[in-house]
Amino acid sequence: MTEKDMMSDIKDANLSYLMLAQQMIRSDKATAIFRLGVSKEIADVLESLTTAQLLKLSSTNMMLARFRFDDCAILNMLTSYTKDRHLASAHAAILMAGQAPEAMA
């Protein structure tokens, strides 16, 4: 994969992320805020963006969505879970719901 391919892939990912996020926010804002992990202010902005603005925003060489786990201890624990897969996802849900969106925004 060349550098150029990677850049265009990032742009694609950005665009599909933004479009999905906008769709989620428009259909049910409160649920979308939880699922996306963004703050209410950011959700308001994303909701009001036009398609042209979305395109402009997504055509950058940097990823717009950021990783949700800032705490590497949590990430380690979740990926190296030795027990049930259901338990791991339940644990992840509890930990993620406990995080404030500002911490990730």
Partner: protein, 179 residues
Amino acid sequence: MEKKSVVNEAQQIQLAIQLITLGARLQLLESQTTLSRERLIKLYKELKGVSPPKGMLPFSTDWFLTWQPNIHSSMFLNIYNFMREHTDVNGITAVIKAYRLYLDETGTEDPEAAVLSLTRAWTLVRFVESKMLKLQACSCCGGHFVVNVYDLNQHFACSLCHVPSRAGKTKKTREMAAA
């Protein structure tokens, strides 16, 4: 006395329908909607095809502290608190939305099959509001879990960091594994 409004009534019926399809008991409906008991019973019968279950709601806080229910109720309460703090919804709408998200998280589509029923989730919220239960951070993973307010929780470790040795090993799961 409040003036009778058709729009308001329609909204209340819509809310009641949502609650009933999610598996609410009659007591919950009576306290969260302004509809009369007779109308609620009629609505319940129409939607579910059976009479609403009679009897009191479960009222013990201990249920929320046993292993599997504790995980599920902690998950629900974390989602609910997130909703209350970071979005505009509150009251019964927050409970409904948080409960829907909880169902999605656990992957159960049928509310009847979920470990935590909507009525129990609502009871949990009331217990927390009346300071009988609270959330305590686990000293190991930092996640917040439901605990009794008067328990000693200084070095609390959650039921997922320290899984009890016989947790989840019931006769039912053994039979399911064998089948």
